[in-house]
């Protein structure tokens, strides 16, 4: 789910950047540092604006200036039970991997409808029910997240396509 979230971050600036457009530089650096990262259990997708850049404080010893910046960002936090769209990446006999933006999902063969089975003889390998559903590299799928785990800077999820309106998205 996407949120507009108010966040705060300390940004340091090298003395060579000290000058009139310092605040712009701080914002640029913030965007560069933060956008597209995984902060614990959510991803920071985009920074809307910075609304409060504090006065710079010289850090003793290094000469760097530290600014505390309040900013508003679009964040995405996947939840257990949430239904998201993803693109299939690789297919193997145990299930398939899909990528939902920055999140890597695994959908095991146990969490698919019974009629869908693995077909290794197809090129490329695919999951199919021998009718309209074909899940292979590049297929768009709708997945329900049933498990999530995060580590520093990384997130993984387990998905399921066993349910109404889940699975292959018709183009």
């Amino acid at each position: 789910m996407f949120f507009l979230h108010n966040l705060e971050r300390r940004v340091t600036l090298h003395p060579s950047y000290f000058g009139r457009n310092m605040h712009e530089l701080v914002t640029t650096k913030l965007v560069k540092d933060v956008e597209g990262t995984c902060a614990g259990d959510y991803y920071i997708i985009a920074i809307m604006d910075t609304f409060d850049v504090s006065e710079g404080r010289i850090l003793p010893g290094s000469g760097l200036a530290e600014f505390t910046v309040g900013y508003r960002a679009v964040v995405w936090r996947p939840f257990k039970g949430e239904v998201i769209d993803a693109i299939v990446d690789t297919v193997n006999p145990h299930g398939f991997f899909a990528q939902a933006g920055p999140l890597r999902l695994f959908v095991s063969s146990h969490l698919m409808p019974d009629e869908i089975r693995y077909d290794a003889s197809a090129t490329p390998a695919q999951f199919t029910n021998d009718a309209d559903i074909v899940i292979e590299h590049g297929t768009h799928v709708r997945v329900k997240i049933i498990g999530l785990r995060t580590e520093v800077g990384e997130m993984w999820a387990i998905g399921s396509i066993n349910g109404d309106f889940l699975g292959c998205l018709q183009p």
Partner: protein, 892 residues
């Protein structure tokens, strides 16, 4: 899924169950108390200053290690339990059989949570990684088996097998030498035709900065496309390479643009989990019965040898090798390919000695590597090593250097033939129309490989069908009847050299167990019998053409039925899976000592020419002058017959010689217009020689009828006493040594029984004998490389122990004077010959003078032989003695 839960080892047994807190049908959760039990323990109590043990009974609860529904208890209240055992059966909600990055792929629970009630972590339930492109997706053993059975069923249905294909040097060769790119853009280059087909790509996310910048040039083995297409009808193919994932994928794209052949079944170093060895269990954890491997290296498959079809390495870009080889143990199985071109075999022979030099380091490295495991520091080192190799290749441009060398040779040849024209300095400017090219594309391995794979497939399904008929299975798929591909492969290979008894000579470095060496294992796997030394029933002697082991060669030359072949023959057999006709591979180069003095027409082979400096195969230059290492020419006693002991059962000498004529020299091997060096033999009168010998022998010192027996004992004793049994290669060669000595001794027949009182003179002779023997060793005859001082000592001792030896040597020295070379006999004492360096003639003269009455005795002894030998010498002129260890006297 019902699981039996055990109590675990952490309890203080024996325990007594006090109360069961849950009944069948109840839901149990992790860390929930399920039962109460009591245990007794001793407690130390202090009463009025003294301590004593007091028994205590404590009641504690036992918590559930897993979630699920309790089916029933396996214990009852009041029961005493003395050791860990199952207590209950629980229906689990989820077996956590597929896990992805610490998440259960079935229920989505976090598997990394630590649970104090359980003895094992949940992540341990799915330990097997069997997916090609992922390491973080793991499955349980049950799931792995299920998946594999599914695979087998599918393969059986379509009557296919699995084939694991290596990339580098097996089906392609990669190089990063920028020269290839230049040649591709230059149609005038002689290599243009060769490199036209070479595909290239760049890695965006290569392993190192350098690897990102350079282009990879991929040359497919000739006929690869058709090979893969046809093989894919019989096999489901997997790529298994030690390159990085991006590299593997790019190569797969080159060889299989539609991804029809390999699909996504590509596994690389990044997913291998082991950076030193490949393992079929990584892909087929349960059963490898339906899998075959093609790879150019067998040492990287330590656990899957039976399934491996070893391919001779593809070497298109000469001198490049395998660009990913820094991630593998050093190569030790160099056996130049039978299909190799002349240039290639030259290259191989250059590479071989170098490889041997590194042998010790490599062996050590291999051990370190095998124990190293997934050491990140090691990985880093390997990456660095690869980067160094890359850098070297880009900067040194080995291909360009090779081509320039070839061009220079061409130019010289041209100059010699035509009038001198201004030689073009630059490689590209005005190239002569007929320039030779470095890159030649005439590899035929895939043709044979396809045959092997076809026959394996046929044999496999023939056996499967007969098994199925036995089981009376009607369905198409019967997993119970699946034969083992490894066994079938063994059977197919085992027939190839069945009944051959092979001895290796000069192929392996000394000190290596031939039965465990790469070549040895292969010989055995092809059904041949590998022997450490030459015996009566040996059929083939395989020699390293660059460095033939002298002793075995001489021994084999004496036996007409032994075919002496170069190791290319072996390579051809391995590659074609057939007992290849030996004729083109017969080893015809002759050792220097074998050539009679009258020999005018030498036999020179290509390989030998290059390495004569270090090898003991010294080849006569056309004018008869020996390419010498600067040592003084030695003379040896040559007698035509009398080698009674060695030859018993082998027929007479005449047969022997004729055998040599048939197999030893072929007209095709001789330079055009030159007469065969053994022509003289055809007209030689053998009867005369025999008579002469008899005469000569009669003139020798005290005749000893028991000669041969003594010798036999002697040999046995020496074998037992001096040769450590574990050093097969060494022991055999030492044994050869002894035997050679014995052979010559018995020829001379001028022997005393060992117990005979040794006169002053005989002592001296003995010493001199040792001196000469050592000199002979140091002079390169034995190849001093690898000769340890200890071994030399052993040899010296063995000689000291046998007074027979001294007589033989005496005979030899006599011959030396007789030959009139002007060289004084090296009358050295033990102390003097330590260094074994050949001294100039003058110096030796001095030595002789200072050697108490050596010269006197010498002269006495020599005079005895003089007459006989003069006659002998006259007879020998113009004749060739196959088994005589005679050295050229024309020197100087």
């Amino acid at each position: 899924m019902v699981k039996t839960v055990r109590l675990g080892n952490r309890l203080r047994y024996p325990i007594t169950i006090v109360k069961l807190l849950k009944g069948p049908g109840d839901k149990v959760r992790k860390q929930e108390a399920l039962l109460e039990y009591s245990f007794k323990w001793m407690r130390e109590v202090a009463i009025r200053g003294e301590t004593r043990q007091q028994e205590q009974t404590t009641i504690v609860t036992w918590e559930s290690p897993i979630d699920g529904e309790l089916k029933h208890w396996l214990i009852r209240e009041g029961q005493q339990i003395v050791a860990d055992r199952g207590v209950m059966e629980v229906q689990e909600e989820c077996g956590h059989e597929i896990q992805f990055q610490g998440l259960c792929g079935i229920c989505g629970k976090d598997m990394t949570e630590v649970n104090w009630a359980a003895e094992t972590r949940d992540t341990a339930r799915a330990p097997i990684s069997m997916v090609h492109d992922q390491t973080n997706l793991t499955v349980s053993a049950v799931q792995a088996q299920r998946t594999e059975q599914e695979l087998q069923r599918r393969l059986l249905q379509s009557r296919k097998l699995s084939l694991v294909v290596d990339l580098d040097q097996t089906i392609i060769q990669a190089c990063i030498d920028p020269t290839v790119g230049e040649w591709q853009r230059d149609p005038t280059n002689p290599n243009y035709e060769s490199v036209k087909e070479v595909k290239s790509f760049q890695l965006d996310d290569g392993p190192t900065e350098l690897a990102r910048r350079c282009s990879y040039y991929i040359k497919m083995r000739p006929g690869l496309e058709g090979f893969l297409r046809r093989v894919s009808e019989m096999y489901e193919m997997h790529v298994y390479t030690m390159g990085t994932r991006p590299y593997a994928q790019n190569v797969a794209r080159v060889i299989d643009p539609d991804r029809k052949l390999f699909g996504n079944r590509v596994i690389s170093r990044d997913e291998n989990g082991n950076i030193f060895a490949k393992d079929l269990q990584r892909l087929f954890p349960v059963s490898t019965r339906m899998v075959a491997i093609i790879d150019d290296r067998s040492d990287v498959w330590p656990r899957n040898r039976p399934n491996l079809i070893k391919v001779s390495p593809y070497e298109f870009f000469k001198g490049i090798g395998d660009i990913n080889s820094s991630f593998l143990p050093k190569r030790q199985d160099l056996l130049s390919s039978g299909a190799a071109t002349n240039g290639m075999s030259k290259k191989a022979s250059i590479r071989e000695p170098a490889a041997k030099k590194n042998k010790d380091d490599a062996a050590l490295e291999a051990i370190v590597n095998m124990t190293g495991g997934d050491d990140p520091a090691l990985t880093k080192r390997q990456v660095e090593e690869q980067e160094r190799t890359f850098e070297k290749q880009i900067n040194d441009r080995p291909l360009q250097a090779l081509q320039e060398k070839l061009d220079r040779e061409d130019e010289e040849a041209e100059k010699a033939s035509q009038e001198p024209e201004d030689s073009s300095e630059s490689r590209t400017s005005s190239p002569p129309p007929q320039r030779h090219r470095v890159l030649q594309d005439d590899d035929e391995e895939l043709k044979y490989l396809e045959q092997h794979l076809t026959s394996l497939h046929r044999a496999y399904y023939a056996e499967y069908d007969s098994n199925r008929a036995l089981h009376h299975t009607t369905s198409n798929v019967d997993l119970g009847s699946v034969p083992d591909a490894g066994r079938i492969l063994d059977e197919l290979k085992g027939k190839v050299l069945q009944g051959y008894k092979i001895v290796l000579s000069g192929v392996l470095p000394r000190g290596i167990d031939i039965y465990r060496s790469e070549i040895g294992l292969q010989i055995i796997s092809f059904g041949a019998d590998l022997r450490p030394k030459i015996a009566k029933d040996v059929t083939h002697l395989v020699v390293n053409a660059a460095q033939p082991g002298r002793d075995k060669l001489l021994e084999a030359r004496r036996r007409p039925h032994i075919k002496i072949v170069s190791q290319e023959w072996l390579a051809a057999c391995f590659s074609q899976w057939a007992a290849v006709d030996e004729t083109p591979y017969l080893f015809t180069a002759r050792l220097m000592e074998e050539d009679g003095p009258g020999r005018q027409q030498p036999v020179v082979s290509d390989e030998d020419e290059e390495t004569y400096g270090e090898a003991d195969t010294e080849i006569q230059a056309p004018n008869g002058v020996r390419a010498s290492n600067g040592r003084s020419p030695k003379l040896r006693l040559i007698l035509p017959t009398g080698d009674a002991h060695t030859l018993d059962g082998d027929g007479n000498d005449l047969d022997n010689e004729e055998g040599e004529i048939e197999e030893g020299l072929l007209p095709s091997d001789l330079p055009d217009g030159q007469a065969s060096p053994i022509d003289g033999l055809k007209t030689f009168n053998w009867g005369d020689a025999d008579e002469e010998l008899a005469e000569f022998l009669a003139s020798g010192s005290s005749e000893d009828g028991d000669d041969d027996d003594e010798d036999g004992d002697d040999e046995g004793e020496q074998d037992d006493k001096y040769i450590p049994p574990q050093e097969d290669e060494e022991s055999s060669s030492t044994d050869e040594d002894v035997r050679r000595g014995r052979g010559r001794r018995s020829r001379s027949r001028s022997v005393q029984p060992p117990g005979a009182t040794a006169s002053n003179g005989s002592i001296e002779r003995k010493r001199k004998g040792r001196g000469e023997e050592e000199e002979e060793n140091w002079g390169g005859g034995e190849g001093p490389v690898g000769e340890t001082p200890a071994k030399r000592l052993r040899r010296t001792e063995s000689q000291r122990g046998s007074s027979l030896r001294s007589m033989y040597v005496a005979a030899e020295s006599g011959e030396q004077l007789e030959a009139g070379s002007g060289l004084p006999t090296p009358g050295r004492s033990d102390e003097q010959d330590g260094g074994g360096v050949d001294k100039p003639n003058g110096e030796e003269e001095d030595d002789e003078g200072t050697d108490f009455d050596a010269a006197e005795l010498e002269a006495e002894f020599e005079a005895e032989f003089d007459k006989a030998m003069a006659e002998e010498e006259a007879e020998m002129k113009g004749n060739d003695w196959e088994d005589a260890a005679m050295e050229d006297t024309e020197k100087g």
